[in-house]
Each structure stands twice: as structure tokens, then as C-alpha cells.
Symmetry: C2
């Protein structure tokens, strides 16, 4: 990081998410120790699984991008750039006295290396959390189940902004799912199981989707219903039980819309080292970067094979 | 709302923010009761201060936009549109069976009325919270103080994305501020008071900025330092004390970066009906919509005067 306080703020948020930090390096204005040195160190450090960088200025650009290309296949690198705009740059310069750089050029160069460049601080945390907990998908076929319109609609909107789309369910999957659903439910993706869906439906449908070979990522949306005498955590329990029963092999994105109101959910997730996302944007961002990383790894594999 | 579950999820989040809801109307696919009817009702309802709408489909477009133009000068109207993209629309249609509409056209029409159109669910909540707590500014001159680089840099970046900029401090303000700051501090906007700034500096500088005639909005950024034996809430207490001592006349945006880790802060804010924002994006969005509303109100005033 080039900002001690940014690192500090991230600590608070990561701790809240139940994530650990192995080491934090604050290099200020970059005058003696550079990001290249720090990347070298973290690349070899066996206690570091994921590398997060808050960057304001770029020094030794070519060396940095080479180093990133070298590190990324081994460990995910997540970068947030402060000072993207002229007033942001002015703010950065009044603090560390160093000049920020042209963002569009930087963006192209970083994306080329396969590192994840985040657009804001919330996405930065989401990325670290996602790579800490979830496996990388084998492809980009996304299946969605939900008990509510709003959550899956807003998730789908954001997904399309990222140029991603939803898979079509295979006939076999539809047949298998039918037994657990009321006849009113249309067997399309997103699968809207309607408000009555409880632990059992969430468990069975999530499990079927996770086991289905034509799907690579499963997104389970929930709005906790205030009626029908349901427990506030039963949908989530069903989802995670399905993930555990399938060996946690595929990435699972539980979107419990504004569910951070319910403390028991966050505690459950932390204890079980299980994923949980609270807004459609956060869930869509996690989906996007998992697919980005899958692509960058397979591209790298192809290149190594040449 | 056209989604019962969206309303329900919003309840959870608003409750967490300490905000109340007077009434909730869920109109599903719009077949009998329309948004026009509901707006009429809420416009006259004295218990309703702000109107929030989750919309998937638009019916009676012209009547709706006329109604909005009529209501907005009296009460802020905040709108989130689900089904902005083709897959989002598909998701919406599988739930309510109604077709969503072209987003860009809708956006232009809504903006014209002065209503606030949000891009995502988090911004929707931020907008409701902001209009509940803060007064509307008299202009768009923004002053920023901070104890940390990262938070104000990221805030400034987002501000510029919204085509907003920071004011220049007047010579008088600089002179007055100098007495409370260490010589290392550069008297520029954002004012970086560096990590040692505590309750006293936050109180005095926030107060000077709030009282300064050349500033209309004050943004006070904090990263709670883990050192110097400071209390986790002292910066925030200083900021709010200054706001109270100046009669809460100007909008104040306290950005406590990822400070939701500290429960005492949220409790303090709720109890005192005081503003608090936890990410640079959220703070920048609040700033943006306050200025948007100020402009729409003054435009309306001019038109009425003709």
C-alpha cells in the first residue's frame, strides 16, 4: 500500500468479514522500496495466499508489469488505484508528494497481466474475500436460483453490464428440479422458486445445480421473508449444506439481499468459512472476477504449453 | 415497489441505518393500482417525508412523469429501476410477467422531473438516508478535511466521475484554520491534517468550514488510527459536535472509512440522528445527490417565478 490509513481501514473491514492478513507493507511515496520488491517478497511468502495492493503512483512500470505477470498465475493479485482522476491525483499529491499516472493506460497494462483492477474500495474487499473462500470455476456458465424477483433482477442487470450472461438449463436438470418445486415455478434461469421456498428447496436445488455438469457457478439469491414463520437463517443453511455435500468443488455465491441486518448469518458464514454476499452488485462483482481469473489462468496454461 | 421482497430487503437495511418507514405499497405487475395513484397518495400523506420507488415496468409514462414533476418540489423521490438490461428484463418478466422498458429513455425522462434515479440498491439506501438526515446545500462548493490520504483520494476520484470538483479555500479560512494545525499541514482542499489529528482538530476545523460562507458542503474523512491511544469515536464526536454547534444548517458528510467495524459509531449516529458514511463511494454519492436536489429545487423556483 501507499497509504497506511488505507491499509488500516482495510484491516477493519477484512476482520469484519472474518479474513486474516498475513503481512502489511506500507511503502509511502515509493522512494526506497517499490511494489516490485514487495511483490517479490509476497510471492515467496508461504503465509500469503492473496496479494492486495493500494497504489497511487507507478514507478518502474515495465518491471512492475513483468513482475505481476510472473506472480499472478501463482497467487491472485488485487489492485485498487487511488488518484484516477485529476482531483484525486491532486489529493494524492498533497499527501505523499508523488504524481499519479494516467489511469486508462495503467488499466490496460494491469489487465494484460491478469491481475484484478478494482474500481472502488468495496470491490477491493469483495475480491479479497472471494479469492480467500471460493474455488475458481471451470467455465462461465452461471445458474441462478431465487425466492424473490428484485434480488435476481438487480443481479442480472449488473451481470450484463459486465458482459456476462446466464446459462440455459439442460432438459435433464429441469426434470430433476421439477420434483422439488411447486407447479407455478417456471423452469428458466434465473429459477424463481417464489417466496414459499425454504431450507429444503434451497438445499435440493442448489445441490442439483452444483452437481450439474453444464453449470460452473451457482448463485443462490435470498430475501429473508418476514412471514410463513421461517427462520432467518434457514435458506442460507440449506445453500451451504448443499455446498458442503458436494465437496465445495464449485464456486457458490449466496446473495442474501441486505441480510447483514441478521447478525447470525455473518457469524454462521465466518464460523463455517463459507461465502456470503449482501448486495446484488457485490455478488455480480464476485462472479465477474472469478470468471476473469479462470480465463487468465487458462490463457497462461495455453501459453506455457506452447 | 413492484417487488415485495425488494421492499422487505430495504426494510432490513433502513432499520439498520436507524430510519423509519411510514408506509409500503407493493403494486406487483401494475395491473390495477399504478405508480401514479401511489404517488398521489404519498404526496398528500403527512407522515411521508421521502418517497422511494423500486420500479420494473413503466405504465402510463406521460402521466407518471407529470406526477413526478409535481411531487418532486415538495418531497424528494428516489427511484431504483430493476430490469435495465435484457437479461435483467428477462428475470423481471419471469417474475411479474410484465415487460421492462428502455432504460436510457426512462433515465432521461426521470432526470428531467428532478427525481433521483439510482444505479444500484446501495445507492438507493444511501439516497433515502441522506435526504432523511441532511439539509439541502445552498450551492456546490465542497470542502474536505481528512486525517488520511487514501480516503480523501478515493472520495475525490469518485467526485470527479460525477463531474463535481472541490472548492478553493479563501485566504480568511486558511488563516483561521492555521492556528489549529501543525505547520506540516498544507492549506489546500482536501485539507490533510495527518494522522495525529484528534477530537479537537476535527471539531475546530469542521466548525470553521461549516461557518465559512464560501463552502456549502463539508466532507470530514476519518480513518480511525490504531495508534496514539485515541478513542475509536473521538474524531466522529468532534465532527458531530461542530455540526450541532452550527445549528445543523449545512450538509455535513462524515466519511469514516470502513468504520462500521466499530459498533459504537453506528449507535452514536442513530441515537443522535446524525449522518455517517462508511465508504468513499457512499460519501461521494450523497454529495452528488444533495447537489442534484439543490439544483432541481432552484430551477423549479425560477420557473415558478416566471
Amino acid at each position: 500500500s501507499q497509504s497506511g490509513s488505507f491499509g488500516c481501514a482495510s484491516f477493519y473491514q477484512l476482520k469484519q468479514e472474518g479474513l486474516g492478513i498475513s503481512k502489511f507493507a506500507n511503502i509511502g511515496n515509493n522512494i526506497d522500496v517499490s511494489f516490485v520488491d514487495v511483490l517479490d517478497f509476497f510471492n515467496d511468502d508461504t503465509n500469503t495466499k492473496i496479494i492486495g495492493i493500494y497504489m497511487e503512483t507507478v514507478k518502474y512500470g515495465k518491471a512492475l508489469f513483468n513482475k505481476l505477470s510472473h506472480v499472478v498465475p501463482k497467487k491472485p493479485v488485487v489492485i485498487l488505484k487511488g488518484g484516477r482522476t485529476s482531483i484525486g491525483m491532486k489529493a494524492a499529491s498533497s499527501h505523499t508528494g508523488s504524481l499519479a499516472s494516467n489511469y486508462q493506460i495503467l488499466k490496460a497494462a494491469i489487465t494484460q497481466t491478469g491481475a484484478i483492477l478494482c474500481e472502488n474500495a468495496s470491490n477491493f474487499i469483495t475480491a479479497l474475500k472471494t479469492f480467500s473462500i471460493l474455488p475458481i470455476p471451470q467455465g462461465e456458465n452461471i445458474g441462478v436460483l431465487t425466492n424473490s424477483g428484485g434480488s435476481s433482477v438487480l443481479f442480472s442487470d449488473k451481470l450484463e453490464e459486465y458482459n456476462l450472461s446466464l446459462a440455459s438449463f439442460s432438459e435433464e436438470l429441469k426434470e430433476e428440479m421439477r420434483q422439488f418445486l411447486i407447479p407455478l415455478v417456471k423452469l428458466v434461469n434465473p429459477l424463481d422458486m417464489i417466496g414459499g421456498a425454504a431450507e429444503k428447496q434451497y438445499y435440493n436445488i442448489t445441490k442439483l445445480m452444483l452437481k450439474d455438469e453444464s453449470l460452473d457457478i451457482v448463485v443462490a439469491c435470498v430475501v429473508i421473508p418476514p412471514f410463513l414463520e421461517m427462520n432467518s437463517d434457514e435458506h442460507y443453511r440449506g445453500i451451504i449444506r448443499a455446498w458442503n455435500d458436494t465437496g465445495r468443488e464449485k464456486p457458490l455465491i449466496p446473495l442474501v439481499f441486505f441480510g447483514d441486518y441478521f447478525e447470525n448469518l455473518n457469524t454462521l458464514a465466518k464460523k463455517g468459512k463459507a461465502p456470503i454476499y449482501y448486495t446484488p452488485n457485490e455478488a455480480a462483482y464476485a462472479t465477474k472476477i472469478l470468471i476473469e481469473r479462470a480465463k487468465s489462468l487458462s490463457k497462461n496454461k495455453e501459453e506455457s504449453a506452447l
